[in-house]
Each structure stands twice: as structure tokens, then as C-alpha cells.
């Protein structure tokens, strides 16, 4: 938890680079996309680039990005890279993970 506080907090100018890895149209994935989009709209005001990747299409990426659990969101920036897994239904944790809380 201490680490979270060290992360440079919300940078108004910085773009949020987000990558969401999903598995096709599975329930978890659909929920994750929906939840994340809601959060982004609410908190990021368009200052983000969201890339949604279906791992079934790009299996090599799975190894490169060290993906085990899905769905997974990787925040590449700003600040340290963070990984969030799950369907993003726990809004508080998502915000904390993105450094928005």
C-alpha cells in the first residue's frame, strides 16, 4: 500500500495509456470493458488511450506481457506500470490502481 502513495499522482497533462487484455466476448471480459469505459469517462475526461486486445488473436503478447489472469488492465503510464486483473467491478480498487483515488 505504501507503494501506491509513491506513485506520482494524477498528472493533468499526461495521457493515460491503458491496455486491456480480454478473452473474446466472455462475460468477464464484457463486464471489464464496460466497467473500465465507465470509469474512464467519469474520471479521465478523455485523457486516455485505451487499447483493447483479444489475447486469443495475439497469443504471443500473452507471454511478452506476462499475463496469467484475465481480464487484465495494464497502465503503462503515467508513472509506474500497474496491473489490474478482474472485471473492474471493484471501482475503488481500480481507481487506486490507476492512481486516481
Amino acid at each position: 500500500m505504501t507503494e501506491l502513495q509513491q506513485v506520482p499522482e494524477y498528472d493533468a497533462n499526461g495521457m493515460y495509456q491503458l491496455r486491456l487484455f480480454v478473452t473474446g466476448a466472455s462475460p468477464n471480459s464484457t463486464r471489464a470493458i464496460l466497467n473500465l469505459k465507465n470509469i474512464c469517462n467519469e474520471f479521465l475526461n478523455g485523457k486516455h488511450e485505451l487499447e483493447i486486445i483479444d489475447v486469443h488473436q495475439q497469443p504471443l503478447l500473452v507471454q511478452q506481457e506476462q499475463i496469467v489472469a484475465l481480464p487484465m488492465l495494464i497502465k503503462k503510464g503515467p508513472g509506474a506500470e500497474r496491473r489490474l486483473i478482474g472485471d473492474m467491478s471493484d471501482r475503488e480498487k481500480v481507481l487506486r490502481g490507476l492512481g486516481l483515488s
Partner: protein, 579 residues
């Protein structure tokens, strides 16, 4: 191992198996791991789980042409490659040949936030991709339990693991899952054994009396027979070797061939030909009775015949033995140079007993000797109890007899009283038992030797004096004097004494002979005298008789003459009367 009779029996369709290629393991599991199913290898940290599973993949790739995927949750691919490079396995090359694929899965709890429902589909995709990519038949998941330290949601994890094993079975790959030993009776920390129920192998690394031994046990193997004992195993430069504890059957081949002990007099005591080939021989005795010399002589004789011999020394270094044996005119170095003799010297405390056995087993399998010498077995007692040493030696003897190798043990007996048991209690196991003992008498210590037993052959029941000279070893008959057994100088004195007696007797005999001759001569002279007397008397008598005859004739003639003259007859010259 065992041949035809079993195969001819009605064979039920048995579980297909995937050979591991690991020395000994396939024998224990009767062919390998269950094909197309997951196997759990569990054990404490540092007991060789990763190595065993990696060797399974490498052997599969190199020996059975079955590519394999190694999914590491603990070590990075580069670390793994480094680790096994010391074992002569070139992982980089195998990866380049697409025979093995390493995938390091990194999970760090501090980097991950769990925000709701998820699954491990990522792992499935990775694994699936890797398997399809190199057409893998074997998969290793090295410490899958690391997932539990990286992810929080146990419910999801457990459900996903169950799905993973199901999925692996569907894929038809033979998988090994490793798991760390849990607390108490649990085999793994997270109870993986719940999911993997086909085959479970437990590795153990135990330290007893500061000596560590690795052991392996097949806890469970559904649908197959398997060895249930704990088997010691060894990790060395060639990977893992498991030692199957010999078969319990006593149906070894036997040979009636004989091999010489190197000491002709001893061979003579053993029915004239020496020991049986493939038998076990125990030489026991107190300190300094020449046990090592007998063993070295035996080894020397073996090599002289051109046979191979391994000498396991637990007390002295090879150099020391070679030097010492020069003093009895045995040159072992030349046999070493010719490659007929191998020395393996190690302190008994180097490994546990089991490990000694594994090491010996390996060395013997490799060198294929005709004769093995263990000098001395007594020292092994320092690393195990009597019963353990005995159990180990039983297995060694079993193994050697199966291979038709003759073995000679030397053992130190601690007291001078000949007891019916040696310290290691192996006397009942061996085929021949030679006992060397001190005979203290007349202010000196000499060595006496006898054959306590020698199965299946006529052997001498006599105690012989065993002498060690700079010419070598020899046995001489012990003299039995009025005060008991005579050895050493007492024996020499007795010998001398007897020699003197012989000379005296010889002298006496010859003088008697002469007297007899003399007497005979006298008698003979007398006999001839008498004979001559008799002859002359006879002649005298004959003469008289002839004279009388002549006189009688003459008288007759003259009477006739007179008569005829009176008649006036004239007798002619022929005596005819003419009228």
C-alpha cells in the same frame, strides 16, 4: 528386467506410460509416468523437484523425441539454463531446435490489483500456444503453487487449477506439476494432490547424523503397480539416478566357475580352485591381520587374469594402498594404467549409506567389473546403524550377484574372541567367510587363518598360519605341538627339532642296517663252510664205495679165471670159453 514368463500371462490392457528416461525411475514406476495425465512431484525446498522434472523434459526431447514445455513460476529461463548447464544439458540448443520451450511466468502480488472476477485464461493461452508451437508431448509446471502467492482469490484459483488439469488431460500431454511440501501430513502447501490424483511422487531430503540422503517414493500411482519403498537417489553430473532397491526374489543365475584368490595355498584350502564366480566373500579379522593385503592380492590376481576390478576403499587413499602393497610385491599401479583396476576412495561420512550404495551402483554399472572389493565395510557403521548397514549390504550383494560379480568385503572384528557374528551381521549373507586372527604365543603375535564357511565346496577345516613377507602372502601348515598350536618361531623351532630327530633316526637306522649285513655275511660264510664239509664227506663216501665196487669186480674176475684154468679151458681174450 524380468523376462518372458510374465509377458506370456494374460495381459490386461494396462495404462499407457511415458518413460522418463531417468535412471531407475522407470523401473520403479514399471515403465514411466502415466501417459497423457498429470503427475505431482512434491517435496521440500532443494530436494530436486525442478531438476527431476527438467530432466524428464530433456530426456523426452533427446531420447524419446517428445518435445516439452517447461513453465517456470520460480526461476527465469536464463537461470534454469544456467542451473542445468552444470549437468551437461544444453537447454539453449534444445530450445533453438524447438524441442524444448521455456516460459517463465512472473507474478508479483505487489504489482497486481484484483478488481473483481477473473480467470487464468492467460495461462491457458500461453501454455496452449507453447504446446502447439513445438507440438509438445510433455509439460512441466514448476511450482504451480506460486500462483497462490501472487493471486488472492483462492476460490477462483482452485476452480481454475481444476480446470487446468482437466485441460491438460484433454490436450493429451504428460505433465509434471511440482509442489512444495506442506506443513504436517499435507503433501503440498495448497493441497495440489487433491487435483492431481493419478500419480504422486514424493521427494525427500533427509539429514540423519549430519549426513544427507535424497529419497524418492511413489505415493500413489493409479492403475499401475509400482514400487512402494523409499528409494535413494543421487544427483550428479549426469542428472538423477534412482536406485531401485533390488528385487526381493531370490532367483539369480549362479555360476559354478571358479576364480582364484591369488594365494595358491588358500585356493587349495577352498577345494583347490578358489572361490565361486559371482559369490560374496567376507574376510574378517582384528586390526593388522592383513585383510587389506588379502583383498589387494585378490584384486591383483583378478587383473592379472585380464578381468576388471573395482576397489572401494573406505579407509585408505588409493595411493596409500598402492604404496603399501608394494611391500608385499604387489604392483597395483600397472593394472590401473591398463584400465583394469579402478579405485574409489571415499570417507564413509561423505554420504549416507544409501548414497554410497547409489554411487557404487552407478560406478559398477558403468565399469562392469568382474570383481568388486569393499575395504572395509566396518567403517560404514559410522554412518548408519548395524541393521541399516546390513540392509545396504544385502542389496549390494543382491545386485552384484545379479550381475555375476564376485565381491570381497573386509571387516574388522573388534575383539579377539571369535564370535559367530561379525559386527555388520553379514556373515549369514556371504558365501565364503575367511577369518584371520591373531595367535599370541611364546611372546610373539602371529596370524592364523581359517575358512569359517564356504558354501557349496569342500574346504579345509584347518587353521593355517598366514604369513606376509616381501615376496607376498602365503599360508603354511600350523604345527600342533604338545602345548597347542605352534606358530612363528615356535613353529620354526619345532621344525628344527623334528629335523634333528630325523637325522638321528636316520643314523640309527643305518647302523642297524650295517649290523644286519654283517651278521648275514657271517652266517653265509658259516653256511658255505658246512656245505663244503658236507661235500668232502660225500666225496669220501663215494670214493670208498667205488673202491669196494672195483675190488668186488676184480675178485669176481680172478675167481672166474681160476675156475677156468682148473677146467683147462682157455679163455680167449674175450672171456669166451673155447673148447
Amino acid at each position: 528386467m524380468s523376462t518372458s514368463p510374465k509377458k506370456s500371462q494374460v495381459h490386461h490392457p494396462s495404462l499407457p506410460k511415458t518413460p522418463t528416461g531417468i535412471i531407475g525411475l522407470d523401473e520403479i514406476t514399471d515403465g514411466g509416468l502415466p501417459k497423457g495425465r498429470p503427475t505431482l512431484i512434491c517435496g521440500e525446498a532443494g530436494c530436486g523437484k525442478t531438476l527431476m522434472s527438467l530432466e524428464f523434459l530433456i530426456r523426452g526431447a533427446t531420447e524419446f523425441n517428445e518435445p516439452g514445455v517447461f513453465m517456470a513460476f520460480e526461476e527465469k529461463a536464463s537461470e534454469l539454463t544456467m542451473n542445468v548447464a552444470s549437468l551437461d544439458f544444453d537447454l539453449d540448443k534444445l530450445q533453438a531446435q524447438k524441442k524444448i520451450r521455456l516460459d517463465y511466468v512472473h507474478i508479483d502480488r505487489s504489482e497486481i490489483e484484483e478488481t473483481g472476477e477473473y480467470n487464468l485464461e492467460g495461462l491457458f493461452i500461453r501454455l496452449g500456444y507453447a504446446i502447439d508451437h513445438i507440438k509438445a508431448k510433455r509439460v512441466v509446471l514448476d511450482t504451480l503453487e506460486n500462483l497462490f502467492s501472487g493471486l488472492n482469490n483462492q476460490t477462483i484459483l482452485r476452480a481454475e487449477l481444476r480446470r487446468l488439469f482437466q485441460w491438460l488431460k484433454e490436450k493429451g500431454v504428460t505433465a509434471i506439476i511440482t509442489g512444495e511440501k506442506g506443513e504436517g501430513p499435507a503433501l503440498t502447501r495448497q493441497g495440489l494432490e487433491e487435483y492431481v490424483s493419478d500419480c504422486v511422487i514424493l521427494l525427500d531430503h533427509r539429514v540423519i547424523n549430519q549426513i544427507s540422503t535424497r529419497r524418492l517414493r511413489v505415493i500413489k500411482y493409479r492403475g499401475s503397480i509400482h514400487g512402494t519403498n523409499e528409494y535413494p537417489f543421487l544427483i550428479d553430473e549426469e542428472g538423477i539416478s534412482v536406485l531401485p532397491i533390488t528385487s526381493l526374489k531370490l532367483e539369480k543365475e549362479v555360476s559354478s566357475g571358479r576364480i582364484s584368490s591369488g594365494i595358491p595355498a588358500m585356493d587349495k584350502m577352498l577345494g583347490g580352485h578358489g572361490f565361486f564366480k559371482g559369490s560374496s566373500i567376507l574376510v574378517s579379522g582384528t586390526a593388522g591381520t592383513g585383510k587389506t593385503s588379502i583383498a589387494a592380492y585378490f584384486a591383483n590376481e583378478t587383473c592379472k587374469r585380464g578381468d576388471k576390478c573395482i576397489y572401494f576403499a573406505f579407509e585408505e587413499s588409493p595411493k596409500q594402498i598402492i604404496r603399501n602393497m608394494h611391500s608385499i610385491d604387489v604392483d597395483l599401479q600397472r593394472h590401473i594404467n591398463k584400465g583394469l583396476l579402478q579405485f574409489h576412495a571415499s570417507r564413509p561420512t561423505l554420504h549416507g549409506l544409501e548414497m554410497h550404495l547409489v554411487v557404487m551402483y552407478k560406478v559398477i554399472k558403468k565399469f562392469k567389473p568382474d570383481v568388486v572389493v569393499l575395504d572395509p565395510i566396518t567403517n560404514l557403521i559410522t554412518v548408519g546403524s548395524v541393521s541399516e548397514v546390513k540392509a545396504m549390504l544385502i542389496r549390494l550383494i543382491d545386485f552384484l550377484q545379479e550381475e555375476q560379480i564376485t565381491v570381497m568385503f573386509t571387516a574388522l572384528t573388534l575383539n579377539n574372541i571369535v564370535n559367530e557374528q561379525t559386527d555388520e551381521g553379514v556373515s549369514s549373507l556371504v558365501d565364503a567367510w575367511i577369518l584371520v586372527r591373531d595367535i599370541e604365543f611364546n611372546g610373539e603375535r602371529n596370524r592364523g587363518m581359517y575358512i569359517m564357511k564356504s558354501r557349496g565346496m569342500k574346504h579345509s577345516n584347518q587353521v593355517r598360519e598366514f604369513i606376509i613377507t616381501d615376496k607376498g602372502l602365503d599360508l603354511v601348515e600350523v604345527y600342533l605341538g604338545p602345548e597347542g598350536v605352534l606358530t612363528g618361531s615356535a613353529r620354526e623351532a619345532q621344525k628344527l627339532h623334528e629335523q634333528t630327530g630325523e637325522v638321528l633316526r636316520d643314523f640309527a637306522v643305518s647302523s642297524k642296517d650295517r649290523e644286519l649285513t654283517r651278521k648275514r655275511k657271517v652266517l653265509e660264510a658259516k653256511i658255505s663252510n658246512l656245505q663244503m664239509e658236507f661235500e668232502s664227506a660225500e666225496e669220501e663216501l663215494n670214493k670208498m664205495y667205488q673202491q669196494e665196487e672195483l675190488i668186488k669186480q676184480a675178485a669176481l674176475n680172478s675167481r672166474l679165471e681160476i675156475t677156468s684154468r682148473r677146467r683147462g679151458e682157455y679163455r680167449d681174450e674175450k672171456g669166451k670159453i673155447n673148447d
